[in-house]
């Protein structure tokens, strides 16, 4: 606690000093005759549970963030850029003596590793600090440019869900997939140490303009998506403890590969403009960001304080992904809304060769992923997967509702298809209904049990999204809403927010985040229905 208070003070003082240094026009300083620029923000947020959230009416998160960005022009062609970030959650301090909070953070599976250790992100336990969130050298030559260092690489055209955005993993530990999905995932994407080289050949084959090639190499320090689940560090934003029979414990062993040249990842992107179609062709070889689970055996142990004696162990392992794809966009200028604006078409499609899935078996109930069904010994299967998005952005004037600005509508339809899919695959194991808690042991693999209710991977999976935004009062009032819908699981996610932009510095925001869906076995967006919330956020930018 003393350390935390001390660190809080450091942040406050540092922030104050930065504020004092800043001029009205941003932080440009001359250092040895070269420009050094610094800016950033301080942000405090409070989220209050709503709906059938067990934290309804209570502060379930209070994220504090200090982010500083700076750049230094070393030479005419070389510059250094960095983002430094400190993030914490004051909810731990606010609720430290609250019984409901203790219970949310100390479920049986979570108790052994308290989320409290992750309060402040610079703690080593959290597997890395973001004090240096990004840092890289930019080198600009005539036909080449290089970016070397810890960075984000963003491909694709899609909002809300990530298709071609496959290079960097994502941190889902705050507000799941709605933390910054409306803003492009810049805050939740996890930077990687990458060498990026871009080549600009200055030629126009077949009328293709602006041709550029992008090569990326990760030398072997890979990361995975971060989502607290299954004996993870737990906390408010962990997935619920799976429903398990009262004598059974799930043991999850993370086998994330360490840093090794054997884990090198590669990517290539070609971008160009042909007849006003901006296109990319993409290829990537690297490690999956989400694990598959390898059964590691069933064992008996002396009862722990949780009273469970049966341990079902699984290892989180990470397969290799081989993905090719393309994106397209164009304004469809021959279509006009009442003679004014045209829609912009966005298309994105990926083909993944032999993606690894957790295998259920020929039918639901086989539970091949347990490794305990001799009739279904294979616990994982590989299928090709095609993911496609088609979307339209359209600025439409509705003068009755806004005399000065258009409404921006962004609609997307997603189709995920497994052309050679056979049998049943699941997104996650331990998919038992709540009633199973009254049972001592899990259903026998191979039997059709009433407790089995997996979140299945469908041969054809469809989603859609709709984002709507407009602006009032000279863009000082900024409302935005984003809807996401899962057609197969009938699950729904929504984020609505209202930001005020008066002046150059203060940016207050109020918002509402909700998910609905099957939350018994945690399918799709239902996994986080328990965390729906309203929030208030205040940011000071400099």
């Amino acid at each position: 606690m003393k350390t935390k208070k001390c660190l809080s003070l450091i942040i406050f003082v540092a922030a104050l000093q930065l504020l004092c240094v800043q001029t009205v026009f941003g932080g440009d300083i001359d250092i040895f005759g070269r420009n050094f620029h610094i800016n950033g923000y301080i942000e405090q947020e409070f989220g209050i549970g709503v709906g059938n959230n067990k934290a309804a009416g209570r502060i379930q998160e209070a994220y504090s963030t200090l982010q500083v960005e700076w750049s230094y022009q070393l030479t005419d062609k070389i510059s250094l850029y960095s983002i430094n970030r400190l993030t914490g959650d004051l909810a731990y301090d606010i609720n430290s003596d609250k019984d409901w909070w203790q219970k949310r953070n100390h479920t049986p599976a979570q108790r052994t590793v308290s989320r409290e250790k992750n309060q402040w992100e610079w703690q080593n336990y959290d597997q890395g600090t973001e004090i240096i969130r990004e840092i890289y050298l930019d080198i600009m030559l005539e036909k080449w440019s290089f970016r070397i260092g810890k960075q984000q690489i963003v491909w694709g055209e899609t909002d809300g869900l990530r298709l071609m955005d496959i290079v960097n993993p994502q941190d889902f530990r705050r507000q799941f997939n709605l933390y910054d999905s409306d803003e492009g995932y810049e805050k939740s994407r996890i930077p990687l140490w990458i060498i990026k080289a871009m080549y600009f050949p200055n030629w126009e084959p077949f009328g293709v303009r602006d041709l550029q090639y992008e090569f990326i190499v990760n030398l072997g320090k890979t990361r995975s998506n971060r989502l607290e689940a299954y004996q993870g560090s737990g906390g408010m934003w962990a997935a619920n403890e799976p429903n398990l029979p009262y004598l059974v414990r799930a043991e999850i062993i993370d086998k994330r590969p360490g840093t090794s040249s054997r884990n090198m990842e590669y990517g290539l992107r070609i971008m160009g403009d042909w007849n006003n179609w901006i296109f990319t062709l993409n290829g990537f070889y690297g490690l999956e960001h989400d694990p598959y689970l390898r059964p590691a055996g069933l064992g008996l142990s002396a009862p722990d304080s949780d009273g469970r004696i049966l341990s079902l162990a699984v290892e989180k392992r990470y397969a290799w992904k081989r993905i090719i794809g393309f994106t397209l966009n164009r304004e469809l200028e021959w279509i006009k809304f009442m003679g004014t604006t045209s829609p912009v078409l966005r298309v994105e499609s990926t083909f993944q060769l032999g993606k690894t899935f957790i295998f259920e078996g020929d039918k639901v109930g086989d539970m091949a992923w347990t490794g305990l069904n001799p009739a279904s010994p294979v616990y994982k299967r590989q299928f090709d997967e095609i993911r496609t998005m088609i979307g339209f952005d359209w600025n439409i004037y509705i003068r009755a509702l806004n005399k000065r600005e258009s409404f921006f509508f962004s609609a997307q339809f997603f189709l995920f298809y497994l052309p050679n899919h056979t049998g049943e695959t699941v997104n996650a194991p331990f998919y038992f209904k709540n009633d199973v808690k009254s049972q001592p042991a899990p259903p026998i693999p191979g039997t059709r049990s009433k407790y089995n209710d997996p979140w299945r991977v469908h041969k054809t999976q469809k989603y859609c999204s709709l984002g709507i935004n407009t602006l009032y009062d000279n863009k000082r009032i900024d409302p935005y809403v984003l809807f996401l819908y899962d057609f197969e699981e009938h699950a729904f996610g929504m984020k609505a927010k209202l930001t005020f932009k008066y002046g150059s510095h203060w940016r207050p925001q109020i918002g509402y985040i909700m998910w609905t869906g099957d939350h018994d076995t945690g399918k799709s967006f239902g996994l986080f229905q328990k965390n729906s919330e309203m929030y208030v956020k205040i940011m000071y930018q400099f």
Partner: protein
């Protein structure tokens, strides 16, 4: 020896002759400014009078006068309106009552909103007018040469669309409003490239005080109709492109890093390509080039106000009417930036004004979905560009006005901007643009206007 002396004397005379001839041949349009400046004893005016009367400036000014057949000074000299509004006078909110009626004579057709500013009625954007003599102001030599060469090929089709244009001013002696509109449409940035860093948007709320500032770096380049910087008149390989612009936002934090490249194509039926880099998304995203009616950043300007208007002239059913041809009091070519100060209970503008011969041009939009019903321009007869602009909303109500703060380089004939003031009188909001412009840079390359530019801004 004697022969040598004679030769030396002749050489001396010849060397001096052009200068002596130039000194003796300062035209009246320059001399009247010199005389007035001297009479004020004001070093700023005296310095400026020297700049407009260099040999190079005089030569270019004479050539333009000869080509057009007139100059502004002579036209204004014949106008006897409002005799008390004369160079040397400074009109402020404190003394405006004495000059109000004459000012309104010199600001007809709705442009007397500037008098309302002096009288501080309505949305308070106070003003101080420093009256200076009229300039003979002209465009770049490149426009003169290009106009002489190519204007004869320009004509209008039966829909009023311009045909045959290559470079220069298509109709140097316009006979209709649509011809005047095409002249400004082709002038665009009045240079081959324009670079402003920073271009600052000061945004002022209902109390007149600045509540935000937004800054961008702006580059603009003509691909057709080039008049000065190689290659001209066109850039090879880009025959379908009319012009391109790029911006990157510099301030504040939540705008910083936003970059955009806008490509305007020559063909009437092809929309702009408008491709952006959005920092929070860390990626390139295409926006609709057809969306020209939304405001730029948080300002009171839309794309449709940028460089006059944005949509191609063929896209909206528009009537162009020359209401009148008058001498009007207009913002002058201030040698220094416009001064702003918290004064008279608002954000006071102090700048120079002069009488100018203008066409009063009225645009009427017959498209019910267009943002405006009318534009009314005071269009300069020498420069073919607007000095002041009025915008009526779709219902025909007076909505906005725009005073452009012009800047002039007499030696080169380059006309560009200190900035401008756009005022929304209905919503009581004001945007003051302050440019830091460099024209016709020779090291501007395609790399400022392509996807590479956006990628290079990607952080």
């Amino acid at each position: 020896m004697l022969i040598r002396l004679i030769i030396a004397a002749l050489a001396l005379v010849l060397c001096c002759a052009p200068q002596v001839a130039a000194d003796e041949k300062v035209p009246a349009w320059a001399q009247q400014w010199i005389d007035w400046a001297q009479s004020t004893n004001n070093p700023e005016f005296i310095e400026w009078s020297k700049k407009i009367s260099t040999p190079k400036a005089i030569q270019l000014g004479n050539e333009w006068e000869e080509f057009l057949g007139y100059n502004a000074v002579d036209i204004v000299a014949k106008d006897k309106t409002a005799p008390n509004i004369k160079p040397g006078l400074v009109i402020t909110p404190e003394n405006v009552d004495q000059y109000e009626s004459e000012l309104r004579e010199l600001l007809p057709y709705g442009f007397d909103y500037n008098v309302d500013r002096l009288k501080q009625t309505g949305y308070n954007t106070p003003l101080e007018m420093v009256i200076v003599p009229t300039h003979h102001a002209y465009q770049d030599r490149g426009y003169l040469e290009a106009t002489k060469k190519y204007a004869k090929n320009c004509k209008l089709d039966d829909k009023g669309n311009l045909q045959g244009w290559v470079a220069g001013i298509p109709f140097p002696h316009p006979t209709s409003g649509v011809e005047m509109a095409h002249n400004y449409d082709r002038l665009t940035i009045m240079a081959d490239n324009l670079n402003s860093s920073p271009c600052e948007f000061g945004l002022h709320g209902s109390n007149g005080k600045r509540e935000r500032v937004e800054k961008i770096e702006l580059h603009w380049r003509n691909y057709q109709g080039r008049i000065k910087v190689d290659p001209f008149p066109n850039i090879p390989g880009k025959e379908d492109v009319l012009e391109k612009g790029s911006i990157v936002a510099l301030y504040p934090y939540d705008l910083r890093g936003f970059a955009a490249v806008r490509t305007r194509f020559k063909a009437d039926d092809v929309e702009d390509s408008f491709v952006t880099y959005i920092p929070s998304m860390r990626r390139i995203r295409r926006l609709a080039g057809s969306n020209t009616q939304d405001p730029l950043v948080g300002s009171d300007l839309t794309w449709e106000d940028w460089k006059g208007w944005w949509s191609k002239m063929s896209q909206h059913d528009t009537t162009y009417e020359v209401i009148d041809e008058v001498v009007m009091l207009c913002p002058s070519f201030n040698p220094l930036p416009v001064q702003f100060k918290d004064k008279y209970g608002g954000w006071n503008h102090r700048y120079q004004w002069e009488r100018r011969p203008v066409w009063v041009l009225k645009f009427t939009y017959n498209d019910p979905n267009y943002i405006y019903k009318h534009r009314i321009w005071a269009l300069d007869k020498e420069g073919f560009h607007p000095r002041m602009l009025i915008y009526n909303d779709a219902k025909g109500r007076f909505w906005k006005y725009f005073n452009i703060h012009w800047r002039f380089n007499p030696d080169e004939g380059e006309t560009d901007y200190w900035g401008g003031t756009m005022v929304d009188v209905i919503n009581k909001h004001m945007s003051i643009l302050v440019h830091t412009v460099v024209l016709n840079m020779t090291n501007i390359t395609e790399n400022l206007f392509n996807l590479r530019y956006l990628s290079s801004k990607a952080h």
